[in-house]
Amino acid sequence: MTETAASGCAPQTLLDALAETVVGQRPILEALLHALIAGGHVVLEGPPGLAKTLSCRALASAVGGTFKRVQFTPDLLPSDIVGTRVFDQRSAEFATAFGPIFANIVLADEINRAPAKVQSALLEAMQEHQVTIGPQTHRLPEPFIVTATMNPLDSEGTYALPLAQMDRFLVKLLVDYPSPEEEVRILERFGGAPPAMPTGVVAVADVLRWRDEARALFIEPRLARYIVALVAATRAPHEYLERGASPRATLALAALARARALTGGRTFVVPDDVRESAPAVLRHRLAFNYRTITDRVDPEALVAALIAAVPTP
């Protein structure tokens, strides 16, 4: 069903370049690309050593935009991220020292290790693509995407992200261990040397063009209703759900489905685009109640069941 014959670099080019650096984790790389096209932020969750940070760095390097990494720690301050005002003695005026948030791709490593005050400093940047330092508001460069990583294992000394902030992330990706075959390839390819980063595979202008193209993709009315039904299914009374997803999730699901369709070379969205995008969009937007713990229900299975229960068009 390939439809497009886009000029310049196609999204698939970027995906292939990323796959050369990151062995395995193909679904993660695809989801990162889709989020980049959809203009959303990504949170990656998985145990240490599964190429979460590497994937984000490779993406930034391949896109050719500016990249900044912030290691979140308990003593981090909001000004360490957004910047601050400093007094210049020579000019006798205050000047703005911009923080690492001023980059195309910002990697917030172990975002849940910083307290809520610092996490909240990201809210304005993530939602409005702007930050306020002192009296002035500054626009962030476009494209602007926050890729955050979280380690679910060491919960001591971490601060759970509030639901309001989790909602700002377009997708949450679960990073799993590679297969034995992939691990052998990792050993062969990176036997001691650091992995080579793909550089300048596509330009920032390409990404912005993809975004425009994705926004123009067609969603048939039955599919639009399917998207709404999927999100609405999370709001129906459920024995394990405290709260469902917001309309922001509806918009996110449509945007991600469009990005997936664009990557697939189509000018229209098909049911597969929606259904495949749904888990990543919904899983971090649902508030599960205590019974999921007492009954040992896997939230991931719950999300899958919710999605499977909605008839596809």
Binding site: E220, T294, D295, A308, P311
Partner: protein, 304 residues
Amino acid sequence: MALTRRLRALAFAGAAFFATAAQAQTLLTLHVRVFSMSLDKTTVRVGETFHLSITTHVDQPVLELDNVTLPDLSGFEIGGDERRCSSSGRGSECVEVLTLDATEPGMRTLGPAAMDAVDARNGKPSRFLTNSASIDVLPASPLSSGLPPWLRDVLLAVLRQIALLVLGLAALVALVWALTRRKPRPLAPPAAAPPAPAPAPAGNGATWQSLLAALAGEPSRPRVVAVREVLRKRVGARDGETLADLLARRAAGGDETLRGALLAVERAAFCEDARLGEAVRAALPLLERLDAPAGSGAASRCGA
């Protein structure tokens, strides 16, 4: 005889006078503000317990009031008598509560109760009276009235056993319910596999051809959807299964014509309206090459 009578009367009057004078000397001097009587029920059955309260409020600090004369309580059994007094800067309040059981049916009026004291307002011995109170005593309940005591005891014992049995059953049901509820319910079961497509009945080919002819004559979204439905039935698509699922599960990948037809129909079903005609034209040759699919005579969702 008459003298004797006069002497007796005089003696009686004298005795009465001295008795009253002696009693007056032992009476408390009180400024009575409140002296009333009340019942906590206005209707009771024979054998049923109720309470009669006599409330007194006086200006003087007193520890107890022992010169209160109770009303006539014939027809009632006194089950208890509780008295308490509390004093403050504004005087004392004493309440006497009698626990009574009615023994005879009928409308009964109790009271008034009386209290003898020296009225502090004029210094004279006085008798203070409460109000009266009425209570309607109904006959005992049928269970306890017309039955001999031994039979009543047996019935009560049986009823007690039944109540215990019901309570036990309720507890058992609650326990079973709680245990059942705590088990994690299986999440949405996978969609049941539909039965294998039946062999194409005679005549289906004609229906399939008519569907395709209608689509070719005037391409529209409902007609594409109808053809897609029939085609999906042919390849045994399950409820909720997408095209990717279908292609992955089925051996459709091996049948290039079928695979091409599925992809082309999917495109026609979801492409932009402006490209619908083009998509249908691309799909029709592939669809016409297929055999008549089973179930093509089924009603379509879109009624094409």
